[in-house]
Symmetry: C2
Subunit: 310 residues, 2 copies
């Protein structure tokens, strides 16, 4: 049994490789929900959806997010109605959100809803949100007119991560409980994988849920993390804007330092091979491998490397 | 100032003619909400939407309902997710429902939301739901396996009006209050028009809201009704299945009889000219005119006839 801590697209691509090297039914993915938002009344869980769509074979790999063959009719009509259009929701994606929103309104928890969506979409792993309680990643920035406190999607999608970041916090996390089954899965795991996701806004919110970091640290199995930073820049996303707000160097070894108290092993990209010694000096076993996943084969090879370290 | 009592598509077509013969800003349309439903968590008001879309010039006249240029991506994705597909919601239509649902969830009343939707869509008349309280048209039928109590859309769209009707009732109507402004508009009207809508499930729910029938009867102005039945059959819809459940003949004079205590004048189609004497004998002024509205010009001519009777 494996447990994977996962953000969005980077994690989803890695997991697509992992399920080729490990039985999917023996994988529990704990997904970040700090990026979740309500828009047009819809309950949207971008990271859970990225994992679901990718593992269901429905993702648009060329665009890099969302569903293949997606259309934007509702979005266009909402904009014609005067609604904000900064967050593009595809039509088929909206169908997912409608179902999620309805089930939540009927009293189901996010983890129950996620289980049901995975069943209907044909997702082979067990995907669990980090918490059924609302945790909201907030990004405090120096905006053009002074300090601002933005929701994560507002910071990233609406404002394109243009504003200098002062602080990232996870609003509500102090009262959040791990979703049912999360702590049990971690305690029973034969290995834990920290996917190549943004350490600040994808992995940290998960570990900030009270009890979760402690559970990973207390788990008798080994934990391996994969660097999301290659050659001093994130493979995708805005980690380069966020790591400095935490005083962390935008590098593989910078991320390794963040995971030093958590992981036993760390996979860094071959272009960063010279940082392997720094990773080792942090007390982590270092492995150098190609980490940029252009194809599912790339992802499967990376997953094999990660598994070999557990 | 005119007040029009309106159901869905038939009323919308008539109103498109009325706004050519009377200043739209001097028309209050009181719309039926007995057909409203929640589907996929969305608050849907089919009759209000038909009026809105038609008067905003956005309706699909060929199909006869919904928006021109409509697509069905969300619907198809919902069906792929295993959701019921018996009620086809177009993508642009869903944008309307998302906005309505969100505003209702934020605490706005249906009449406030309708005003806002009309403003955004560019609807020139004042459209008011009959009530902000939930009234649900229920159709009790002899189903294939015995008596059933169906929601109106279930009866009409899902079951295609195939089941013999025992009874039609307006659940919740006894506690419903007329929406703000409805009684005032009726009391101040210079004329009231009962649009060519289904008497049983479009007009009757409006008049069943406590105080509304009395207000129309007490209004000092004249009231004219237009027959929705032509040559013994409804121009559209299922009035032929419903009128018999009320013991009413499916004919112009049958409908005139229903409106005898309410209206002063009644417009019936030229193919029913021989029923004019029966209408007169009910105490109503009868006018014979073409009532089938193939074009906006047809509707404008019919509206002129109706206005001449006020």
């Amino acid at each position: 049994m494996l447990v994977a801590l996962a953000g969005g697209v980077g994690a989803a691509r890695f997991l697509r490789g992992l399920v080729r090297s490990h039985p999917p039914e023996a994988i529990t993915v704990v997904g970040n929900t700090g990026d979740d938002l309500r828009l047009h009344g819809l309950a949207i869980s971008p990271d859970l959806d990225s994992v679901m769509y990718t593992l269901a074979g429905l993702s648009d790999d060329e665009r890099g997010w969302g569903l293949a063959g997606e259309t934007w009719q509702v979005h266009d009509a909402l904009v014609r109605l005067g609604e904000p259009g900064w967050f593009s929701l595809g039509d088929a994606d909206i169908a997912t959100h409608l179902l999620r929103t309805r089930l939540l309104a009927e009293g189901a928890s996010l983890s129950q809803v996620t289980l049901e969506l995975c069943r209907r979409l044909g997702v082979p792993v067990r995907l669990v949100p980090m918490s059924d309680d609302r945790v909201e990643t907030r990004v405090e920035v120096d905006g053009p007119d002074g300090p601002e406190d933005l929701g994560f999607q507002e910071y990233w999608v609406a404002r394109r991560a243009a504003d200098p970041v002062r602080r990232v916090r996870f609003s509500g996390v102090e009262h959040a409980r791990p979703a049912p089954g999360v702590l049990d899965a971690i305690a029973a795991a034969d290995g834990i994988v920290v996917c190549p996701s943004n350490p600040v806004v994808s992995v940290a919110p998960i570990l900030a849920v009270p009890g979760l970091l402690e559970a990973v640290q207390a788990a008798p199995c080994r934990t391996v993390a994969i660097s999301p930073i290659v050659g001093g820049a994130p493979v995708r996303g805005m980690a380069d804007k966020l790591l400095p707000a935490w005083g962390v160097e935008v590098s593989a070894r910078g991320v390794a330092g963040l995971y030093a108290g958590l992981a036993d092993a760390f996979v860094l990209d071959q272009v960063d091979a010279e940082q392997a010694a720094d990773v080792t000096s942090l007390g982590l076993q270092a492995a150098v491998a190609p980490t940029v996943m252009h194809t599912p084969d790339d992802a499967a090879a990376l997953a094999k490397t990660a598994l070999s370290l557990l």
